[in-house]
Amino acid sequence: MKLSDYVFEKQILIGGSFKKKRDALKELVSLLVKNKKIPVSRKDKVLSSLLAREKLGSTAIGKGVALPHARLDFIKKPLLVISVSAKGIDFDSLDGELVSVIFLILSPKSSGGSHVKLMAVISRLLRDKFFLERLKSISGSKDLKKLITTNEN
C-alpha cells in the first residue's frame, strides 16, 4: 500500500488556527465535504463518529501526532486528510504532548485490514525523526505531498 495514493493537495491543511480537538476535527471534515468526498448530509455523522472514537481513548500516538479515525458504512475507499498546524492542540495524548500533526482517516466499515495497513504506512514514515521534523516545518500542501512521495520507499 502506497500512502501517496491517498494524499491529495486539496485534502491537506497547513497552518490551521484551531486550538481544540473538536474544532480541528470539524475543520478537517469540512475539507472533505468541500471537496465532495463526503456528502454534506453525512458531516455530523462523521464528526460524531470521530469524537466517539476519541472518547474510547485518545488517538494521539506520541511526538505531537494524532491519527483520529472512524469506520463508516457509506465510505467506499479510505479517505485521508492531513493537517500541520503551528499551534499545538490538546489531544489528551498519553505523553502529554500537544498535537501539531493530524492524519485523519475515514475507512469503509468492512475493511479492517486496509485500515490497519494505512495506519502502518503512516506510522512507519513518522518513526523517522528527520521525516517528522521536516513534516512539522512544512509550509505548503505541494511540499507535503512531495515529502511523502519521496520518503515512502
Binding site: K63, V116, R127
Partner: protein, 87 residues
C-alpha cells in the same frame, strides 16, 4: 537481568490497531523492563504507539515479545493478555 522472548499470535480481531496499541503502551509503561516487539525481523519499541502501529500486525500474525528487566515476568504476563484479547 531476566530477558524473556515470547512468540505470540495476535488475536485482536482488527489486528494491532490504535486502541490495543495504546493499551499495550500504557501497560508497558507501568514496568521498568524494556519492551520490544519483533515482526518479520523488524524490531520496534513496545513503549511507542507509533512503533507498534508501524508493524501493521493483523489478526493471526506472529510477533515476538522481547522483555528485559527485573519485572520482565510480570510484564510479559500482562502484555500477552492484551495481544490475545479481542479488543
Amino acid at each position: 537481568m531476566p530477558k524473556i522472548e515470547k512468540e505470540i499470535t495476535v488475536k485482536n480481531k482488527q489486528g494491532l490497531h490504535a486502541r490495543p496499541a495504546a493499551l499495550f503502551v500504557q501497560t508497558a509503561a507501568k514496568f521498568d523492563s524494556s519492551v520490544k516487539i519483533e515482526k518479520n525481523s523488524e524490531l520496534v519499541d513496545g513503549k511507542s504507539i507509533m512503533g507498534i502501529l508501524s508493524l501493521g500486525a493483523e489478526s493471526g500474525n506472529k510477533i515476538k515479545l522481547i522483555v528485559e528487566g527485573e519485572d520482565a515476568n510480570a510484564a510479559v504476563d500482562e502484555l500477552k493478555r492484551i495481544l490475545i484479547s479481542g479488543i
